[in-house]
């Protein structure tokens, strides 16, 4: 078992009080697994991703534990985490376009980066060049400035840099959202090939685009309002989801082939609750068409079938 997260709670400190952006997450990511993490904006998916690698000043660790290959990650202590970042846990940030230092040539920047981690540039250069070939870039990108590269090229370069030390866990946060469809596909397929080549052991791919996840992910975790809603293998989430939120989310996606004239899709009415004072019980209750009295209690996130976890009273068979 590669990554095990149990009851992780991370809040944002604001003047108005704590925003409970991640309120009790328990899940596991197996070796060689690409887990997709999807949900609406503000549901806590980036918070979950960030908390596994770096809590920024506004984020407050409240409870829970994160175990990677049996070692507990000290995510509450930013200094202690330094030894894990880049080596064991790495991230491709949301804005990879601006992730590189604009004043350095890319090769120089990488050399400074690995030197700060106590490695010699000449040591890693052959591997670096091999991986640059693999993602379909020219080796001379190392002598260029980031501004000379297109968005898709920068994105792939950042992917190579992030995974240079063969991390056990890679967090890819919305890396395809700003790209054109053809580049989007190339980047998504590169992620899969990194896993297949063993550059990365497990991966968490955060996106709001479920159809990208259908293409590349092994399993999908759906979040809603700071809570986990459902986790199962990709085909189960798309074909037979149990949580009403997942069902509505999947059925609201327009696809090539679906026309307004033939089949009118509908969205999810209402909007997610404020996380400053989240409602008690099931947080999806106000928007859920199936809500009933039991939903005033909070549903637990339980395994209903093998590898299929869901937090819904209806799905767990506790009707009445």
């Amino acid at each position: 078992m590669s990554l095990q997260v149990s009851d992780l709670r991370v809040y944002y400190r604001t003047l108005a009080g704590d925003v409970k952006a991640l309120d009790g997450a328990t899940f596991a990511v197996a070796d060689k697994e690409i887990m997709g993490l999807a949900g609406e904006s503000g549901c806590g998916k980036s918070t979950l991703g960030n908390s596994l690698i770096r809590l920024d000043g506004r984020m407050k660790y409240v409870a829970g534990s994160v175990t990677l290959d049996g070692n507990e990650l000290p995510i509450w202590d930013s200094k202690e985490m330094v030894q894990y970042r880049f080596w064991d846990v790495s991230e491709i940030p949301q804005y990879a376009m601006s992730a590189m230092n604009p004043t350095r040539k890319i090769g120089k920047m990488i050399s400074e980066l690995v030197q700060s981690r106590g490695k010699r540039y000449s040591e890693i250069k052959p591997e670096l060049q091999h991986r640059i070939d693999l993602v379909g870039l020219q080796r001379d990108v190392l002598d260029r400035y980031p501004i000379e590269l297109s968005g898709g090229m920068k994105q792939r370069m950042v992917m190579v840099i992030s995974t240079l030390m063969d991390p056990a866990l890679l967090i890819a946060d919305e890396i395809t959202s700003a790209l054109d469809v053809s580049t989007q596909r190339a980047v998504a397929e590169t992620l899969v090939s990194f896993r297949d080549h063993g550059f990365v052991r497990s991966m968490i791919v955060i996106t709001h685009d479920v159809s990208i996840l259908y293409q590349i992910a092994d399993s999908i975790l759906i979040m809603y309002a700071g809570k986990l809603a459902e986790k199962a293998s990709t085909s189960v989430i798309i074909e037979k989801p149990l949580h009403p939120y997942t069902r509505m989310l999947v059925s609201s996606l327009p696809e090539v082939g679906v026309r307004y004239a033939d089949k009118k899709l509908s969205g999810i009415p209402g909007s997610p609750p404020s996380l400053l004072n989240p409602p008690t019980g099931c947080r999806f209750r106000a928007r859920c068409p199936l809500a009933f009295s039991k939903c005033r209690e909070e549903p637990p996130f339980v395994e209903v079938e093998r590898d299929h976890w869901v937090a819904c009273w209806k799905a767990t068979g506790t009707d009445a």
């Binding site: 968005g151 469809v181 989007q184 159809s211 609201s252 679906v258 009118k264 899709l265 509908s266 969205g267």
Partner: protein, 321 residues
């Protein structure tokens, strides 16, 4: 009806504007009333430039755009105001379309002072509420609020409602849902379809093929400023003929089909072809025919389906001959 006839736009770039960048070349298509035309292209393909020219935000370098037979570049002075009564735009980022210092409903009072200054308050309120209900918003919920108090979907719908207050014929919707969440974007999309059925013509600019496919009757695919394929949506998506369109269609992530499967269904290789100076995907290198200045570049493949590819063009010519 809005009609674009061989419209081009060149921008001056470089120091002192020494160079020309042809952002849009020879684009021709029509937007009829009660029709959604989706203009699809990747970043830098010139799709927003086309929208801006229609909205008279920038000048047209060559070609003409006509609204009901009237050349819009000849519209000046007070004519501009009445032009905007018929043609309005909604843009990508709802948050930057509003002034954060003022309440969101200021966009409505601006319309009132400009266009309906003589209208009594009661009549105006009725009109405003009708427009808001037209975009399925509850007036009590959205009026008198600041932009940050409303969601992206609500703000975007307010902008559409603002356009509805006028006697609108053409709405230019430039990437209006790409910033919205999956759960609300479909509602805004359905709203556009609803406006269409009320007789409005909509130019839906997007980079997302599945959204364009869902809503539009006609599809125009732009690449480097030129139309590579256009026609009825089901034909363009059903039988994509231009290598670039094929590449796009095979790259769209779908929900029930994997990429490999789509590629198999489309047949022909879609990547690794190069040579065409206009479109990277030109199938046969080195056989670029001369392009006379006033010859149409698009050839008709079938009824309501045009493709701009030199290889396909010469094939068609051969068939005719």
């Amino acid at each position: 009806m809005l009609s674009l006839d061989r419209v081009s736009k060149s921008y001056k770039i470089g120091t002192f504007g020494g160079k020309d960048l042809l952002a849009v070349r020879d684009v021709s298509f029509d937007v009829m009333t009660g029709e959604v035309v989706s203009l699809i292209g990747e970043s830098g393909s010139g799709k927003t430039t086309v929208g801006k020219m229609i909205l008279k935000l920038i000048d047209i370098s060559r070609g003409t755009i006509t609204l009901d037979g009237e050349d819009i570049s000849r519209v000046h002075g007070s004519g501009v105001k009445s032009y905007y009564r018929h043609v309005q735009g909604v843009f990508q980022d709802p948050f930057s379309s509003y002034n954060p210092i003022f309440k969101a409903d200021r966009v409505f009072s601006l319309i009132r002072t400009e266009y309906y200054s003589g209208m009594p308050s009661s009549e105006w309120t009725g009109k405003l509420e009708a427009a808001l209900r037209g975009v399925s918003l509850d007036p009590g919920q959205v009026l008198n609020k600041y932009p940050h108090q409303l969601s992206g979907g609500q703000l975007q719908r307010l902008l559409v409602a603002r356009a509805l207050l006028l006697d609108l014929k053409i709405l230019v919707a430039d990437e209006i849902i790409s910033m919205l969440d999956a759960s609300t974007r479909i509602d805004v999309l359905n709203l556009l379809a609803d406006l269409k059925s009320r007789g409005m013509g909509i130019l839906f600019i997007t980079h997302d093929l599945s959204l364009g496919n869902y809503i539009s009757e006609k599809t125009v695919i732009l690449r480097r400023g030129a139309v590579v394929e256009m026609g009825a949506t089901d034909k363009v998506f059903g039988h994509p003929s231009h290598p670039y369109t094929r590449l796009l269609v095979s790259s769209v992530p779908q929900l029930h089909k994997k990429w490999a499967q789509i590629e198999e269904e489309l047949g022909a290789p879609v990547a690794g072809i190069s040579g065409c100076p206009f479109h990277d995907m030109y199938p046969l290198a080195g056989r670029m025919p001369e392009r006379p200045a006033d010859e149409p570049t698009l050839v008709q493949l079938e009824d309501d389906h045009f493709v701009g590819c030199f290889e396909l063009e010469s094939e068609k010519v051969r068939q005719v001959a």
